[in-house]
Symmetry: C2
Subunit: 120 residues, 2 copies
DNA sequence: CTTTTATTTAACCTTTTGGTTAAATAAAAG
DNA sequence: CTTTTATTTAACCAAAAGGTTAAATAAAAG
């Protein structure tokens, strides 16, 4: 059991387009596995596996209602990922640090007369 | 050339702790490959591979200065990931939406007379 | 030129990932 | 009970990921 750290598990779960799509669909409300699987060109067991990955990452919660196992979005599990990325937000918003500062400087020189715009 | 979509490539790049650590160290400034590799218990070729993954995701940029190939953080490449997650932020901040509200309601009701649910 | 320093490429190996089909299980319905 | 519906598990497979060591390349230094 190679229990990876939380952040790795979350980012890995998000690195698959099918899984991101599933989360997107669940944002509108609960869905069962078969309903969830419908739009994708893959077998049900494949979806079951994706759901397991999402569940292990804490991104969905699963209920039970008769033979259905409805999936529910657990958006707060995204918070660690959001927090991690947040630490870098200033880097692409401000752009002021170290030699970036210098780069911006010569950029401004080149763009004399232009309004202040961040980034590109 | 399996060209995966941008978001998948970014999240996949972030799903490895060594790569996240590398990005963290680069936030302080440029570093060469050998310097970058120093703290990790792995070979230089392994680091080269990680850098390639980061570069393909656009998260770092590489320069050249004599025999050194300095790495620079390209934080703005995180924006698509940040934007994607942002769409879910309200879900964990508000907590009250749609049927979540209802579900929380019946959960409270059920908890009134009931003890703990069955485990696994 | 030869050597040293920095980094990459090649070849290889093991584990994980993402998918498959066939069979198993769970609960409702007939 | 038997069948149907919903979902999972098992067994398998190919490709990708993450690492290794040994050899190759690039540029500076002697």
């Amino acid at each position: 059991m190679t229990s990876a750290d939380t952040l790795s598990t979350i980012f890995a779960a998000l690195s698959d387009p099918t899984r991101r799509s599933i989360l997107g669909r669940l944002a509108t409300g609960e869905l069962g596995v078969t309903e969830l699987a419908a739009p994708y060109a893959m077998s049900l067991p494949a979806i079951t596996k994706h759901l397991k990955v999402l569940e292990k990452a804490g991104l969905i919660r699963r209920g039970r209602s008769a033979q259905w196992r409805p999936c529910q979005l657990e958006a707060k599990a995204l918070k660690p990922a959001d927090d991690w990325i947040s630490a870098y937000r200033k880097h692409w918003e401000e752009t002021f640090d170290r030699l970036d500062e210098y780069l911006l400087e010569i950029q401004k020189d080149a763009a004399k007369g232009k309004k202040h715009g961040k980034g590109k």
